[in-house]
């Protein structure tokens, strides 16, 4: 998943960025609304984490503009405004969820997962795919009842396939999901991760369309 974090507090922003990266998602972190607009013009995001009080404006206004434009990217508000009226305003403005500062990073991870699942059409975090039992919330995979440990990157790649079952994903698309703007992408990274996933979860788990990309294998 590719996530846009809009947060002007550097200490909090850094911790949130690290947490999301540790979950294996790619994250772009901006501290201003104009930078957020630029980033959104450059690439598409799966989710936006939006602070409400930013140096160049109110996050709620940004959200309303987004929704008026017809943008349906899921938005989670991160707010220091603890009053119920602020939250009602945020939710009515088109936010999918909100977190009042301070929050637990693990709760943030859970909220991101839950909002993303709701958007992909299946809010149930438990999936079955052939011999695999997948718990999206716990980020765990069991193959024939045995736990298969995945690294954060492997999990992120696997999640990208699970989110779009049957759909062909190009290497560039997958790279975009995995890496933020500034991360170095090695030319064969996707191939390496795909081959590791096949080794751990069975060779049929990911199919290759030569020259086109990859898709989730049939169960």
């Amino acid at each position: 998943m590719r996530i846009l974090l809009i947060e002007d507090d550097t200490t909090l922003g850094a911790a949130v960025r690290d947490q999301i990266a540790a979950d294996g998602q790619s994250v772009d972190w901006v501290t201003r609304l104009d930078a957020a607009s630029d980033a959104m013009a450059a690439t598409s995001y799966d989710l936006i984490l939006l602070d409400l009080m930013l140096p160049d404006g109110r996050g709620i206004g940004f959200l309303k503009v987004l929704r008026t434009r017809g943008d349906v990217t899921p938005v989670i508000i991160l707010t220091a405004l603890d009053q119920v009226s602020d939250r009602i305003e945020g939710l009515n403005g088109g936010a999918d969820d909100y977190l009042v500062k301070p929050f637990d990073l693990s709760e943030l991870s859970a909220r991101i997962g839950s909002v993303a699942r709701r958007y992909s059409g299946n809010p149930n975090p438990i999936l079955t795919h052939g011999p695999l039992d997948i718990d999206l919330a716990a980020r765990s995979v069991h193959r024939d009842g045995r736990h298969v440990p995945l690294t954060a990157r492997e999990w992120a790649l696997f999640e990208a396939f699970l989110a779009r079952p049957g759909q062909l994903l190009s290497k560039a698309q997958l790279e975009e999901k995995l890496y933020a703007f500034d991360a170095e992408v090695e030319s064969n990274t996707i191939e390496v991760h795909v081959s590791r996933l096949r080794k751990k979860l069975g060779s049929a788990i990911i199919e290759t369309e030569r020259g086109m990309g990859y898709r989730l294998g049939r169960p």
């Binding site: 200490t11 911790a15 220091a80 009053q83 119920v84 009602i88 500062k101």
Partner: protein, 445 residues
């Protein structure tokens, strides 16, 4: 005499008094002038009478056969005699007198002209080298009764004119003060929470500036309340963001380090920061509860607020323990939704904390605005209950932990003019603890 407090009564009384005095003064001056004029007329009549009678009397007396005899004229017809006269010779012997004349009222002759005794006004004249002298007397009582009649004529209208004038004054004052009365009624009709401008068109110019001052005071008060609100919101923001950053960093540290001791330290830091967060949160809430505006100009549905609060609390650890009962119809109230949220959150958290680990907490809001939070925890002895109530009244800001939460609830309850009812055990049960209060609700009609 105490001066009345009412402006209307004061104006009526003072104008009425001045009017009475002026009238009395005018009447007195008129009476004195009339009296002088009247005396002149009466005197002239007196003198005329003397001068007319004297030549007749002289002819009569000179032509008499018997000299020095007193002759009393018989009345031609019975009548009241205002003028009596006496005609005397130089020795003072009475030669002629009118039928009703009483010689005792006539003093001895001392030359022509006007004289006055205690009871009569007299005019004397003489003829034939001062050998025949006439003195005409008029009783003063007659003049006095005429004067009294004139005075009465001047004074009597006072009895009618004065009450009429007073009524007219009262009506005029009342009419003039009508805009002021309307202004006062508008002020009385509005609630304490309404800080909008009071319209004051038509107010007399003397009172207009007062209304202007009041309106500018209201505006400043509104600004102060707004400033306080935005301070509470800003302070929360300014404190929360750095605290969130520090807590998040501590959490990252804990998950990134392999060192157990370091992880424990990170946990300790996180706990402390969270405690600090809760503490400042409560202080802000108390500040809001005691200072901020609790009633809004527009109303909102309290059910939504209750849902959000219960959702919120459910998210952080204790889902399914809260049973929320809400009516089907909207519960509209002008109570600040944030204040209600604070009240609701504190009561529910208290009920969760003190109610045992697994027992449910019932949160009920009725259509009539009765808000109840109850748990199934152990019965609180009545003396403890009394102490709790007493502490609510003190609303001590130094109390820690739950004490502050209850103080916040108490402060809000008191400021919305409601009463906090604590019951243990719960009504119709043998266990539990229930807190209830009535929220200000707008009629749904």
């Amino acid at each position: 005499m105490r001066w009345p407090a009412s402006l209307q009564a004061r104006l009526g009384l003072s104008v009425g008094l001045v009017l009475t005095m002026l009238w009395l003064l005018a009447a007195t001056v008129t009476a004195v002038i009339v009296r002088a004029e009247m005396d002149e007329v009466f005197d002239s009549a007196l003198r005329e009478t003397a001068e007319r009678i004297l030549p007749l009397a002289v002819t009569d007396i000179v032509g008499r056969e018997d000299q020095g005899v007193t002759q009393r004229l018989a009345p031609i017809r019975e009548h009241d005699e205002f003028f009596t006269y006496l005609i005397r010779d130089a020795e003072g012997r009475v030669l002629l007198q009118s039928h009703a004349a009483d010689p005792t009222v006539f003093p001895s002759y001392d030359g022509p002209g006007f004289r006055q005794t205690a009871t009569h006004r007299l005019y004397s004249d003489a003829a034939l080298q001062d050998t025949i002298r006439i003195t005409v007397a008029e009783p003063l009582a007659h003049r006095m009764s005429v004067a009294r009649e004139i005075q009465m004529g001047l004074g009597l209208p006072l009895l009618i004119v004065l009450p009429v004038a007073l009524i007219a004054i009262i009506l005029a004052v009342r009419f003039s003060l009508d805009p002021l009365r309307r202004f006062r009624a508008r002020l009385e009709a509005r609630g304490a929470r309404d800080l909008s401008q009071v319209p004051h068109e038509g107010l007399p110019t003397e009172i207009g500036p007062l209304a202007d001052t009041l309106n500018s005071l209201l505006a400043r008060l509104r600004e102060a309340f707004e400033a306080e609100r935005s301070f509470a919101a800003n302070a929360a923001h300014e404190l929360r963001t750095p605290l969130a950053g520090a807590i998040a960093q501590a959490q990252r540290l804990r998950s990134e380090t392999k060192d157990r001791a370091a992880a424990q330290r990170a946990t300790d830091i996180e706990e402390t920061l969270k405690r600090l967060t809760r503490r400042t949160e409560r202080m802000m809430q108390l500040a809001r509860a005691e200072g901020g505006r609790l009633r809004m100009d527009k109303s909102s549905d309290l059910r939504g607020v209750a849902r959000i609060v219960v959702d919120d609390i459910g998210r952080t650890g204790t889902p399914d323990r809260i049973r929320l009962n809400l009516p089907d119809m909207a519960v509209m109230s002008d109570l600040d939704p944030d204040a209600f949220a604070i009240l609701c959150r504190n009561l529910v958290e208290n009920a969760l904390r003190h109610g045992g680990q697994t027992t449910p907490v019932d949160v009920t809001l009725t259509a009539s605005g009765q808000f109840t939070v109850a748990n199934d925890g152990p019965v609180v002895p009545s003396e403890t209950l009394n102490r709790l109530t007493a502490r609510f009244e003190r609303a001590s800001a130094t109390a820690d932990g739950s004490g502050l939460g209850l103080a916040i609830v108490a402060a809000i309850t008191e400021r919305i003019g409601s009463r906090l009812v604590l019951q243990s055990p719960r009504p119709d049960r043998t266990t539990g603890f229930q807190v209830s209060l009535r929220l200000p609700i707008e009629d749904s009609e």
